[in-house]
Symmetry: C2
DNA sequence: GTCTATAAATGGATAGAC
DNA sequence: GTCTATCCATTTATAGAC
Protein backbone atom coordinates (compact mmCIF):
# COMPACT_ATOMS: atom_id res chain seq x y z
CA UNK A 1 0.00 0.00 0.00
CA UNK A 2 3.02 2.25 0.37
CA UNK A 3 3.08 3.25 -3.27
CA UNK A 4 -0.62 3.49 -3.89
CA UNK A 5 -0.61 7.26 -3.72
CA UNK A 6 2.20 7.46 -6.22
CA UNK A 7 0.44 4.91 -8.40
CA UNK A 8 -2.76 6.91 -8.38
CA UNK A 9 -0.79 9.96 -9.33
CA UNK A 10 0.90 8.17 -12.22
CA UNK A 11 -2.47 6.95 -13.45
CA UNK A 12 -3.83 10.49 -13.31
CA UNK A 13 -0.88 11.81 -15.27
CA UNK A 14 -1.40 9.09 -17.85
CA UNK A 15 -5.08 9.98 -18.20
CA UNK A 16 -4.22 13.66 -18.63
CA UNK A 17 -1.76 12.80 -21.38
CA UNK A 18 -4.30 10.59 -23.08
CA UNK A 19 -6.88 13.39 -22.98
CA UNK A 20 -4.29 15.81 -24.32
CA UNK A 21 -3.72 13.59 -27.35
CA UNK A 22 -7.45 13.48 -27.98
CA UNK A 23 -7.77 17.24 -27.88
CA UNK A 24 -4.67 17.68 -30.03
CA UNK A 25 -6.19 15.37 -32.62
CA UNK A 26 -9.26 17.60 -32.68
CA UNK A 27 -7.69 21.04 -32.69
CA UNK A 28 -4.10 20.48 -33.65
CA UNK A 29 -1.23 20.38 -31.19
CA UNK A 30 -1.00 24.16 -31.30
CA UNK A 31 -4.67 24.51 -30.42
CA UNK A 32 -4.34 22.58 -27.19
CA UNK A 33 -5.46 24.72 -24.25
CA UNK A 34 -5.08 23.93 -20.58
CA UNK A 35 -8.63 25.01 -19.83
CA UNK A 36 -10.06 22.53 -22.29
CA UNK A 37 -7.69 19.81 -21.16
CA UNK A 38 -8.59 20.26 -17.52
CA UNK A 39 -12.30 20.12 -18.28
CA UNK A 40 -11.72 16.97 -20.31
CA UNK A 41 -10.37 15.18 -17.26
CA UNK A 42 -12.92 16.69 -14.87
CA UNK A 43 -10.75 19.38 -13.32
CA UNK A 44 -10.28 23.11 -13.43
CA UNK A 45 -7.34 24.53 -15.25
CA UNK A 46 -5.17 25.52 -12.24
CA UNK A 47 -5.31 21.97 -10.93
CA UNK A 48 -3.22 20.77 -13.85
CA UNK A 49 -0.27 22.58 -12.33
CA UNK A 50 -0.29 19.95 -9.63
CA UNK A 51 0.87 17.49 -12.32
CA UNK A 52 2.77 19.62 -14.78
CA UNK A 53 4.86 22.63 -13.86
CA UNK A 54 4.03 24.44 -17.08
CA UNK A 55 2.51 23.94 -20.49
CA UNK A 56 5.98 23.27 -21.84
CA UNK A 57 6.40 20.50 -19.31
CA UNK A 58 3.18 18.98 -20.60
CA UNK A 59 4.44 19.21 -24.17
CA UNK A 60 7.64 17.55 -23.11
CA UNK A 61 5.74 14.70 -21.52
CA UNK A 62 3.72 14.32 -24.72
CA UNK A 63 6.89 14.41 -26.79
CA UNK A 64 8.45 11.68 -24.69
CA UNK A 65 5.28 9.59 -24.70
CA UNK A 66 4.97 9.85 -28.47
CA UNK A 67 8.52 8.73 -29.03
CA UNK A 68 8.06 5.85 -26.63
CA UNK A 69 5.06 4.79 -28.70
CA UNK A 70 7.23 4.80 -31.79
CA UNK A 71 9.93 2.75 -30.09
CA UNK A 72 7.35 0.24 -28.90
CA UNK A 73 5.97 0.02 -32.40
CA UNK A 74 9.41 -0.75 -33.77
CA UNK A 75 9.98 -3.27 -30.98
CA UNK A 76 6.75 -5.04 -31.86
CA UNK A 77 7.67 -5.29 -35.53
CA UNK A 78 9.01 -8.53 -36.96
CA UNK A 79 11.60 -7.76 -39.58
CA UNK A 80 12.48 -9.93 -42.58
CA UNK A 81 15.99 -11.35 -42.53
CA UNK A 82 16.88 -9.85 -45.86
CA UNK A 83 18.38 -6.46 -44.96
CA UNK A 84 16.76 -4.40 -47.68
CA UNK A 85 13.34 -5.87 -46.98
CA UNK A 86 13.90 -5.13 -43.31
CA UNK A 87 14.70 -1.51 -44.14
CA UNK A 88 11.54 -1.20 -46.20
CA UNK A 89 9.57 -2.67 -43.36
CA UNK A 90 11.06 -0.26 -40.83
CA UNK A 91 10.37 2.76 -42.98
CA UNK A 92 6.85 1.55 -43.71
CA UNK A 93 6.20 1.22 -39.99
CA UNK A 94 7.51 4.72 -39.50
CA UNK A 95 5.32 6.08 -42.30
CA UNK A 96 2.26 4.37 -40.88
CA UNK A 97 3.03 5.68 -37.42
CA UNK A 98 3.39 9.21 -38.73
CA UNK A 99 0.22 9.16 -40.78
CA UNK A 100 -2.08 7.65 -38.18
CA UNK A 101 -1.93 10.70 -35.91
CA UNK A 102 -1.14 14.04 -37.47
CA UNK A 103 -1.17 15.89 -34.17
CA UNK A 104 1.44 13.54 -32.77
CA UNK A 105 3.56 13.93 -35.88
CA UNK A 106 3.24 17.68 -35.61
CA UNK A 107 4.78 17.57 -32.16
CA UNK A 108 7.37 14.85 -32.79
CA UNK A 109 8.60 15.54 -36.29
CA UNK A 110 7.82 19.14 -37.10
CA UNK A 111 8.82 22.20 -35.17
CA UNK A 112 5.48 23.85 -34.66
CA UNK A 113 5.23 24.89 -31.05
CA UNK A 114 6.43 28.47 -30.49
CA UNK A 115 9.04 28.16 -27.79
CA UNK A 116 9.03 24.44 -27.12
CA UNK A 117 12.27 22.51 -27.03
CA UNK A 118 12.24 18.99 -25.64
CA UNK A 119 14.45 18.26 -22.66
CA UNK A 120 17.63 16.31 -23.31
CA UNK A 121 16.01 13.27 -21.79
CA UNK A 122 13.01 13.36 -24.12
CA UNK A 123 15.13 14.21 -27.10
CA UNK A 124 17.19 11.15 -26.38
CA UNK A 125 14.15 8.99 -27.07
CA UNK A 126 13.72 10.63 -30.46
CA UNK A 127 17.35 9.98 -31.28
CA UNK A 128 17.00 6.38 -30.21
CA UNK A 129 14.11 5.89 -32.63
CA UNK A 130 16.02 7.48 -35.47
CA UNK A 131 19.02 5.33 -34.66
CA UNK A 132 16.94 2.21 -35.15
CA UNK A 133 16.10 3.27 -38.68
CA UNK A 134 19.66 4.28 -39.45
CA UNK A 135 20.83 0.88 -38.26
CA UNK A 136 18.48 -0.76 -40.75
CA UNK A 137 20.01 1.40 -43.44
CA UNK A 138 23.50 0.35 -42.47
CA UNK A 139 22.45 -3.30 -42.57
CA UNK A 140 21.19 -2.71 -46.09
CA UNK A 141 24.57 -1.35 -47.12
CA UNK A 142 23.79 2.36 -46.86
CA UNK A 143 26.67 3.70 -44.83
CA UNK A 144 27.58 7.13 -46.08
CA UNK A 145 25.95 9.98 -44.19
CA UNK A 146 24.80 11.62 -47.40
CA UNK A 147 22.90 8.51 -48.45
CA UNK A 148 21.33 8.17 -45.02
CA UNK A 149 20.30 11.82 -45.19
CA UNK A 150 18.66 11.24 -48.56
CA UNK A 151 16.68 8.24 -47.33
CA UNK A 152 15.48 10.17 -44.31
CA UNK A 153 14.55 13.24 -46.33
CA UNK A 154 12.76 11.25 -49.02
CA UNK A 155 10.72 9.33 -46.47
CA UNK A 156 9.81 12.54 -44.68
CA UNK A 157 8.91 14.16 -47.98
CA UNK A 158 6.49 11.40 -48.85
CA UNK A 159 4.92 11.52 -45.40
CA UNK A 160 4.54 15.27 -45.53
CA UNK A 161 2.97 15.31 -48.98
CA UNK A 162 0.63 12.50 -48.03
CA UNK A 163 -0.42 14.14 -44.78
CA UNK A 164 -0.92 17.58 -46.29
CA UNK A 165 -2.69 16.68 -49.49
CA UNK A 166 -4.35 13.32 -49.10
CA UNK A 167 -4.52 12.15 -45.49
CA UNK A 168 -5.74 8.60 -45.35
CA UNK A 169 -4.75 7.85 -48.93
CA UNK A 170 -1.58 6.40 -50.42
CA UNK A 171 -0.95 8.54 -53.48
CA UNK A 172 2.54 9.42 -52.22
CA UNK A 173 3.44 6.72 -49.73
CA UNK A 174 2.87 3.93 -52.24
CA UNK A 175 6.12 4.96 -53.89
CA UNK A 176 8.17 4.35 -50.79
CA UNK A 177 9.52 0.91 -51.73
CA UNK A 178 10.45 1.97 -55.24
CA UNK A 179 12.34 5.02 -53.97
CA UNK A 180 14.11 2.94 -51.34
CA UNK A 181 15.23 0.56 -54.07
CA UNK A 182 16.49 3.42 -56.20
CA UNK A 183 18.41 5.00 -53.35
CA UNK A 184 19.84 1.81 -51.91
CA UNK A 185 20.86 0.55 -55.35
CA UNK A 186 22.59 3.83 -56.04
CA UNK A 187 24.26 3.95 -52.64
CA UNK A 188 25.57 0.39 -52.85
CA UNK A 189 26.65 0.38 -56.49
CA UNK A 190 30.40 0.31 -57.06
CA UNK A 191 30.06 2.98 -59.71
CA UNK A 192 29.59 5.54 -56.98
CA UNK A 193 32.81 4.69 -55.21
CA UNK A 194 34.72 5.83 -58.26
CA UNK A 195 33.63 9.42 -57.86
CA UNK B 1 -3.13 63.53 -61.12
CA UNK B 2 -6.40 61.63 -61.19
CA UNK B 3 -4.85 58.42 -59.94
CA UNK B 4 -2.40 59.89 -57.48
CA UNK B 5 -4.57 59.07 -54.50
CA UNK B 6 -4.91 55.50 -55.66
CA UNK B 7 -1.19 55.34 -56.31
CA UNK B 8 -0.39 56.59 -52.84
CA UNK B 9 -2.71 53.96 -51.46
CA UNK B 10 -1.03 51.20 -53.45
CA UNK B 11 2.36 52.37 -52.26
CA UNK B 12 1.16 52.30 -48.66
CA UNK B 13 -0.20 48.79 -49.08
CA UNK B 14 3.11 47.71 -50.56
CA UNK B 15 5.02 49.20 -47.64
CA UNK B 16 2.73 47.42 -45.16
CA UNK B 17 3.35 44.12 -46.91
CA UNK B 18 7.07 44.72 -46.91
CA UNK B 19 7.01 45.47 -43.19
CA UNK B 20 4.90 42.37 -42.61
CA UNK B 21 7.55 40.20 -44.27
CA UNK B 22 10.22 41.75 -42.08
CA UNK B 23 8.29 41.03 -38.90
CA UNK B 24 7.44 37.53 -40.10
CA UNK B 25 11.13 36.87 -40.65
CA UNK B 26 11.77 37.92 -37.07
CA UNK B 27 8.96 36.18 -35.24
CA UNK B 28 7.68 33.60 -37.71
CA UNK B 29 4.59 34.04 -39.81
CA UNK B 30 2.44 32.83 -36.94
CA UNK B 31 3.92 35.44 -34.62
CA UNK B 32 2.90 38.34 -36.81
CA UNK B 33 0.68 40.73 -34.86
CA UNK B 34 -1.27 43.66 -36.23
CA UNK B 35 -0.22 45.89 -33.37
CA UNK B 36 3.45 45.36 -34.11
CA UNK B 37 2.88 45.68 -37.84
CA UNK B 38 1.06 48.98 -37.48
CA UNK B 39 3.83 50.40 -35.29
CA UNK B 40 6.38 49.27 -37.84
CA UNK B 41 4.78 51.45 -40.50
CA UNK B 42 4.08 54.35 -38.13
CA UNK B 43 0.39 53.75 -37.53
CA UNK B 44 -1.88 52.45 -34.81
CA UNK B 45 -3.37 49.02 -35.15
CA UNK B 46 -6.96 50.01 -36.08
CA UNK B 47 -5.68 52.04 -39.03
CA UNK B 48 -4.56 48.87 -40.77
CA UNK B 49 -8.20 48.03 -41.30
CA UNK B 50 -8.32 50.86 -43.78
CA UNK B 51 -6.09 48.72 -46.01
CA UNK B 52 -6.96 45.16 -45.08
CA UNK B 53 -10.42 44.01 -44.05
CA UNK B 54 -9.02 41.41 -41.66
CA UNK B 55 -5.85 39.64 -40.68
CA UNK B 56 -6.77 36.85 -43.06
CA UNK B 57 -6.98 39.35 -45.89
CA UNK B 58 -3.46 40.45 -45.01
CA UNK B 59 -2.26 36.86 -45.07
CA UNK B 60 -3.90 36.40 -48.43
CA UNK B 61 -2.11 39.45 -49.80
CA UNK B 62 1.17 38.08 -48.46
CA UNK B 63 0.45 34.67 -49.97
CA UNK B 64 -0.24 36.22 -53.35
CA UNK B 65 2.81 38.48 -53.15
CA UNK B 66 5.06 35.57 -52.24
CA UNK B 67 3.87 33.47 -55.13
CA UNK B 68 4.33 36.39 -57.49
CA UNK B 69 7.91 36.63 -56.27
CA UNK B 70 8.40 32.98 -57.11
CA UNK B 71 6.92 33.41 -60.57
CA UNK B 72 9.15 36.41 -61.22
CA UNK B 73 12.14 34.40 -60.09
CA UNK B 74 11.30 31.65 -62.53
CA UNK B 75 10.69 34.22 -65.26
CA UNK B 76 14.09 35.73 -64.66
CA UNK B 77 15.81 32.37 -64.89
CA UNK B 78 17.62 31.33 -68.06
CA UNK B 79 17.17 27.63 -68.60
CA UNK B 80 19.58 25.32 -70.42
CA UNK B 81 18.23 23.82 -73.62
CA UNK B 82 18.82 20.28 -72.49
CA UNK B 83 15.54 19.30 -70.79
CA UNK B 84 16.97 17.49 -67.80
CA UNK B 85 19.42 20.28 -67.09
CA UNK B 86 16.52 22.71 -67.35
CA UNK B 87 14.57 20.69 -64.80
CA UNK B 88 17.50 20.67 -62.42
CA UNK B 89 17.82 24.40 -62.83
CA UNK B 90 14.14 24.98 -62.13
CA UNK B 91 14.16 22.85 -59.01
CA UNK B 92 17.36 24.49 -57.81
CA UNK B 93 15.76 27.91 -58.22
CA UNK B 94 12.78 26.68 -56.27
CA UNK B 95 14.98 25.29 -53.50
CA UNK B 96 16.94 28.51 -53.28
CA UNK B 97 13.73 30.53 -53.16
CA UNK B 98 12.33 28.37 -50.37
CA UNK B 99 15.49 28.47 -48.25
CA UNK B 100 16.17 32.17 -48.46
CA UNK B 101 13.08 33.14 -46.45
CA UNK B 102 11.69 30.58 -44.03
CA UNK B 103 8.76 32.77 -42.99
CA UNK B 104 7.67 33.08 -46.60
CA UNK B 105 7.99 29.35 -47.11
CA UNK B 106 5.98 28.75 -43.98
CA UNK B 107 3.11 30.71 -45.47
CA UNK B 108 3.41 29.50 -49.05
CA UNK B 109 4.35 25.86 -48.74
CA UNK B 110 3.30 24.72 -45.31
CA UNK B 111 -0.12 24.93 -43.75
CA UNK B 112 0.69 26.67 -40.51
CA UNK B 113 -1.82 29.45 -40.08
CA UNK B 114 -4.83 28.33 -37.99
CA UNK B 115 -7.81 29.16 -40.16
CA UNK B 116 -6.15 30.66 -43.20
CA UNK B 117 -7.11 29.48 -46.65
CA UNK B 118 -5.96 31.51 -49.64
CA UNK B 119 -8.62 32.89 -51.94
CA UNK B 120 -9.07 31.13 -55.26
CA UNK B 121 -7.33 34.02 -56.94
CA UNK B 122 -4.22 33.78 -54.79
CA UNK B 123 -4.23 30.02 -54.92
CA UNK B 124 -4.20 30.26 -58.69
CA UNK B 125 -0.80 31.92 -58.50
CA UNK B 126 0.54 29.02 -56.48
CA UNK B 127 -0.81 26.56 -59.01
CA UNK B 128 0.76 28.52 -61.82
CA UNK B 129 4.16 28.31 -60.16
CA UNK B 130 3.81 24.57 -59.62
CA UNK B 131 2.71 24.15 -63.23
CA UNK B 132 5.94 25.69 -64.40
CA UNK B 133 7.93 23.05 -62.58
CA UNK B 134 5.70 20.25 -63.76
CA UNK B 135 6.16 21.44 -67.32
CA UNK B 136 9.92 21.16 -66.89
CA UNK B 137 9.39 17.60 -65.68
CA UNK B 138 7.30 16.76 -68.73
CA UNK B 139 9.98 18.20 -71.00
CA UNK B 140 12.46 15.90 -69.30
CA UNK B 141 10.27 12.91 -70.05
CA UNK B 142 8.59 12.57 -66.67
CA UNK B 143 4.95 12.28 -67.58
CA UNK B 144 3.26 9.89 -65.21
CA UNK B 145 1.59 11.53 -62.22
CA UNK B 146 3.28 9.16 -59.81
CA UNK B 147 6.71 10.17 -61.03
CA UNK B 148 5.83 13.84 -60.86
CA UNK B 149 4.57 13.33 -57.31
CA UNK B 150 7.84 11.68 -56.35
CA UNK B 151 9.93 14.51 -57.75
CA UNK B 152 7.84 17.09 -55.93
CA UNK B 153 7.90 15.17 -52.64
CA UNK B 154 11.64 14.52 -52.81
CA UNK B 155 12.41 18.16 -53.51
CA UNK B 156 10.15 19.27 -50.66
CA UNK B 157 11.74 16.69 -48.38
CA UNK B 158 15.22 18.02 -49.04
CA UNK B 159 14.07 21.61 -48.50
CA UNK B 160 12.35 20.74 -45.27
CA UNK B 161 15.26 18.81 -43.84
CA UNK B 162 17.65 21.57 -44.83
CA UNK B 163 15.49 24.33 -43.36
CA UNK B 164 14.80 22.50 -40.10
CA UNK B 165 18.23 21.12 -39.34
CA UNK B 166 20.82 23.21 -41.10
CA UNK B 167 19.44 26.49 -42.43
CA UNK B 168 22.02 28.20 -44.58
CA UNK B 169 23.93 24.99 -45.26
CA UNK B 170 23.69 22.46 -48.06
CA UNK B 171 23.96 19.13 -46.28
CA UNK B 172 20.66 18.00 -47.82
CA UNK B 173 20.12 20.19 -50.84
CA UNK B 174 23.45 19.24 -52.38
CA UNK B 175 21.92 15.87 -53.23
CA UNK B 176 19.20 17.40 -55.38
CA UNK B 177 20.81 16.81 -58.78
CA UNK B 178 21.71 13.23 -57.99
CA UNK B 179 18.19 12.43 -56.84
CA UNK B 180 16.71 14.10 -59.89
CA UNK B 181 18.93 11.94 -62.08
CA UNK B 182 17.87 8.81 -60.25
CA UNK B 183 14.19 9.62 -60.50
CA UNK B 184 14.22 10.82 -64.09
CA UNK B 185 16.29 7.85 -65.20
CA UNK B 186 13.89 5.51 -63.53
CA UNK B 187 10.82 7.28 -64.89
CA UNK B 188 12.10 7.32 -68.45
CA UNK B 189 13.58 3.84 -68.59
CA UNK B 190 11.69 1.36 -70.76
CA UNK B 191 11.99 -1.26 -68.05
CA UNK B 192 9.27 0.49 -66.11
CA UNK B 193 6.79 0.37 -68.96
CA UNK B 194 6.84 -3.41 -68.78
CA UNK B 195 5.31 -3.44 -65.33
C1' DG C 1 -5.11 18.19 -4.20
C1' DT C 2 -8.72 20.91 -5.86
C1' DC C 3 -11.05 24.91 -5.96
C1' DT C 4 -12.32 30.20 -6.85
C1' DA C 5 -10.59 34.32 -8.12
C1' DT C 6 -7.63 36.95 -10.46
C1' DA C 7 -3.51 38.56 -12.49
C1' DA C 8 -1.24 39.77 -16.66
C1' DA C 9 -0.55 39.72 -21.26
C1' DT C 10 -1.94 39.32 -26.01
C1' DG C 11 -4.38 40.20 -29.98
C1' DG C 12 -8.20 40.81 -33.32
C1' DA C 13 -11.92 43.81 -34.26
C1' DT C 14 -15.29 47.85 -33.82
C1' DA C 15 -17.27 52.66 -32.53
C1' DG C 16 -16.98 57.07 -33.08
C1' DA C 17 -14.43 61.62 -32.71
C1' DC C 18 -11.56 64.43 -35.51
C1' DG D 1 -7.66 58.16 -43.10
C1' DT D 2 -6.04 58.17 -38.64
C1' DC D 3 -6.71 58.36 -34.05
C1' DT D 4 -8.29 57.05 -28.99
C1' DA D 5 -10.86 54.13 -26.44
C1' DT D 6 -12.84 50.00 -25.79
C1' DC D 7 -14.67 45.48 -26.41
C1' DC D 8 -14.20 40.78 -26.31
C1' DA D 9 -12.07 36.63 -26.21
C1' DT D 10 -8.28 33.69 -25.04
C1' DT D 11 -4.76 31.73 -22.42
C1' DT D 12 -0.97 30.86 -19.15
C1' DA D 13 0.12 31.27 -14.56
C1' DT D 14 -0.27 32.39 -9.50
C1' DA D 15 -2.45 33.36 -4.75
C1' DG D 16 -4.73 31.67 -1.28
C1' DA D 17 -9.03 29.48 0.83
C1' DC D 18 -10.69 24.95 1.85
Amino acid sequence: MAGSVALRREAKIASIIEAAWELAREHGIGGLSLHALAREVGMRQPSLYEYFASKHALFDALFAAGNRQLLERLDATTFPHEPRAALKRGLAVFVEFALEDSARSELLFQRHIPGFEPTRESYGLAEEALDRLVELMHDAGVNEQGDVDCLVAVTAGLIDAQMSNDPGGDRWTRHLDRLVDLLVDDATTKRRRSR
